[in-house]
């Protein structure tokens, strides 16, 4: 019988016995190490924040995670392949330092309003097209549009992969600005129908996405550990993604199990250019030569984007691709930027590297998923306020003050 048991039996005082137990535990190095591990340390205590308590974009993310099913979270959160480029999108912001202004200016003196492609913006921040927003919250695309319009008339690009058609989204909010994003359809008649629909609701500016040609989401489609349940087994999308499913008589890329929008050409872009009477922007440009080709083929604006790390793993991050494209374009057309924006300082860095505006994808989605339209609006306002704060600290009173001289970038 050990000391402890004997104490329990002979001493009526449990307190004393427990004190002895504590002494025994403290005497053992293993137990001492265990005792350091508090199973519920106070520092890890979390409850769901209310909207009023949200301070940064990152505060929305766990609420987004908690509010949607795992499949929907994974679809939104993950990227292509090993997600190396997805991570690099965020890391690249670390390679840019903001030089503090001497003297800093007051926040009240900062006015970042500008005009781009006829669009009057109070802040150079817009909403990127992102898909399936009803999955995130019942407010869906209309909620996002309402939020954007309420947040100082922020322009929103509506994804073609929406769950609320443009014919419903566009008239749902008065006084807002909606651009239409489009994935080129190989059949030009179908393309014409889409363009007609955009025109019929007043979406004259079209953004055509040209990246993600051969991409799919194998992780969310295949991997049960990541919640993917869609299309597994023979004939499903999951099966078609691998070469194993390729029937024998295939030719070209299909022989290797490569499918997708790999038929994209500049000729097709030219045809779309003719159809779109308003402005046509091209999204997914990551190379200076492609930026120059975009201008040659009549694009009115360029969106530098690696699709939030969802297009091509081991491509560069959007931020490190930006300066070279800015240099090549040399001010001929406006450049929008997306992929990785989470803070006002991130907006500042992209603007200083030459973007005319930045687009919010996941940042706005987290807000929408966490609190619906009100959350999305708060997400936009947080970034607007943070950007103004950063600009003030860096001594910038107007948008043109945010330029290369305010940062040090190391993209070796």
């Amino acid at each position: 019988m050990g000391d402890i048991e004997r104490a329990w039996l002979t001493n009526p005082s449990r307190r004393k016995a427990l004190a002895r137990m504590a002494g025994l535990v403290a005497g053992s190095p293993v137990a001492a190490a265990m005792a350091q591990i508090d199973p519920h340390p106070l520092g890890e205590h979390r409850r769901a924040l209310s909207l009023a308590e949200i301070q940064t974009i990152f505060d929305f993310e766990p609420l987004f995670f908690g509010n949607v099913s795992r499949t929907i979270y994974d679809y939104s959160a993950h990227g292509d392949g090993t997600e190396w480029s997805l991570r690099r999108n965020r890391q690249a912001f670390d390679w840019v330092d903001i030089i503090p202004g001497r003297p800093a200016v007051a926040v009240s003196q900062v006015d970042l309003s500008s005009e781009m492609l006829g669009l009057k913006m109070k802040f150079p921040i817009v909403i990127a097209p992102s898909s399936l927003q009803v999955n995130l919250h019942p407010d869906g695309e209309i909620g996002m549009y309402r939020a954007a319009t309420a947040a100082s008339n922020t322009m929103m690009m509506l994804s073609a992969n929406n769950q609320t058609p443009v014919t419903q989204v566009a008239p749902a909010v008065t006084g807002g600005t909606l651009w239409a994003q489009y994935y080129a359809h190989e059949d030009l008649a179908t393309t014409q129908q889409w363009v007609n629909t955009f025109n019929s609701v007043g979406c004259d500016t079209v953004v055509v996405t040209v990246d993600q040609q051969a991409a799919y989401y194998p992780r969310t489609l295949h991997d049960r550990n990541f919640g993917g349940r869609g299309g597994r087994g023979a004939g499903g999308r999951g099966a078609a993604a691998g070469a194993a499913a390729a029937p024998p008589a295939l030719t070209g890329a299909a022989r290797y199990g490569v499918n997708g929008r790999i038929w994209y050409t500049w000729q097709h872009f030219d045809a779309l250019r003719k159809m779109v009477k308003g402005q046509l922007l091209i999204k997914g440009i990551m190379d200076p030569e492609d930026a120059l080709l975009s201008i040659q083929h009549g694009a009115d604006g360029i969106v530098v984007s690696n699709h939030g790390g969802r297009s091509m793993d081991f491509g560069p991050s959007s931020l490190e691709a930006l300066p070279e494209i800015v240099a090549a374009v040399n001010g001929r057309v406006p450049i929008l930027f997306d992929s990785g924006i989470r803070r006002g300082a991130d907006c500042f860095k992209a603007l200083a590297l030459g973007a005319n505006a930045v687009c919010l994808g996941r940042a706005a989605r987290w807000g929408l998923a966490a609190f619906g339209s009100a959350g999305a609006q708060r997400a936009m306002e947080i970034l607007q306020q943070e950007l103004v704060q950063t600009a003030a600290t860096a001594g910038c009173t107007k948008l043109s003050d945010i330029n290369k001289t305010k940062i040090r970038a190391d993209f070796a």
Partner: protein, 354 residues
């Protein structure tokens, strides 16, 4: 999943302890490892964990690990609006048109990982239309491996090994298409590797060249001058390789060694490469530096260990599909279109946060 397996082991041990003379021994067999169905694996590195489940920590040790330090510094160049529907990965090498430039490299004694060893590997590689290089330390007879093969078959020997004559005789019997001679790695898989930087035994290479009518490819080249010398001594190709993992020998990854070797031997001599090729992007990077083919080792063994021939096929096809996908996203429709501008070497960095 790992917990379930561990729990099974623990139960089995309890069962052993519970034996008493009065009661029949309690038998709780280990449940089989809970493998993820092969079709659900998304990227090749995920096969490694499955192999670990099947083999256990001791047996999986020789095929664990990757050196991604170099490949993680290299970005590819995405290009838009280029029709790549006609993608063609056909790689002409040593007289054959390979389905893709990816082949299964020589790994010794594959019965360590699967009961059918090299025969299952050959079946899997052939199902993926990929060539296979059979190690001279194979655990299965070369004739059986050749019977399971429908794609080009190559044999490997160690320079200066006593087996050379025998292997060369077998190679012609099984209609192998080329002989890979490994240098800088001792004379067998079990022997200690030659110290890094030691001179190559060129006489041993010449002996192989003289002893066969098949093309001879020297594997284990890391320096341009060695590549040039190999060609002078009759090699029809070289494999840039630092054998048994560069990190162990204090060598850098092989990717950055390719371009100087290609420059040294010229366009007419195919340069192949191996060493930590895990992703389709890795293969494309090697092609961008001028390699004409890539040998994969451990990933094929992960597939073999976990899923047998199906696993080898799955690993190879995943690499083939991903090479194709990333070529399409870089606007490249054939191997001849791949050029040095596709890959860009970036600074080594430590991520500060994320």
């Amino acid at each position: 999943m790992g917990t379930a397996v561990a729990a099974g082991v623990a139960l089995a041990e309890l069962g052993a302890q519970a034996q008493t003379p009065a009661v029949a021994p309690l038998r709780i067999s280990n449940p089989p490892p809970l493998l993820v169905p092969r079709t659900e694996l998304v990227i090749v590195p995920e096969y490694e964990a499955q192999a670990r489940l099947v083999l256990g920590p001791a047996r999986v040790a020789p095929i664990l690990g990757s050196d991604m330090s170099v490949t993680n510094r290299i970005t590819l160049r995405p290009r838009m609006n280029i029709n790549t529907r006609g993608l063609d990965l056909t790689a002409p090498l040593f007289g054959d048109d390979h389905f893709t430039p990816i082949m299964v490299g020589p790994m010794a004694d594959q019965r360590r990982f699967h009961a059918e060893g090299e025969v299952a590997t050959a079946r899997g590689a052939s199902a993926a239309k990929a060539a296979m290089v059979v190690s001279s330390d194979s655990s299965m007879p070369l004739t059986a491996i050749a019977q399971a093969t429908t794609a080009p078959l190559y044999v490997q020997v160690y320079a200066g090994s006593p087996k050379v004559k025998d292997i060369l005789a077998q190679a012609s019997t099984v209609r192998a298409k080329a002989v890979f001679v490994t240098v800088g790695a001792g004379t067998s898989a079990a022997a200690p590797a030659t110290p890094a930087g030691a001179p190559i035994d060129w006489a041993a290479i010449e002996a192989v060249v003289k002893g066969t009518s098949l093309p001879v490819i020297v594997k284990g080249i890391t320096r341009p001058q060695d590549a040039r010398e190999a060609v002078k001594r009759g090699a029809k190709g070289v494999v840039v390789s630092n054998y048994r993992g560069g990190s162990a020998a204090g060598l850098t990854g092989t990717l950055l060694l390719v371009a100087p070797v290609v420059q040294a031997v010229g366009a007419d001599v195919p340069v192949l490469v191996d060493g930590s090729f895990r992703l389709g992007t890795d293969v494309l990077k090697a092609l961008a530096f001028g390699a004409k083919g890539v040998l994969i080792g451990r990933p094929a063994m992960w597939g073999l260990a976990a899923y047998g021939a199906d696993g080898v096929q799955g690993v190879v096809q995943r690499l083939q599909t991903d090479l194709g996908r990333y070529m399409c996203m870089c606007g490249l429709t054939s191997l001849t279109a791949v050029n040095p501008s596709v890959a860009r070497v970036r600074a080594a960095r430590i991520a500060a946060r994320n």
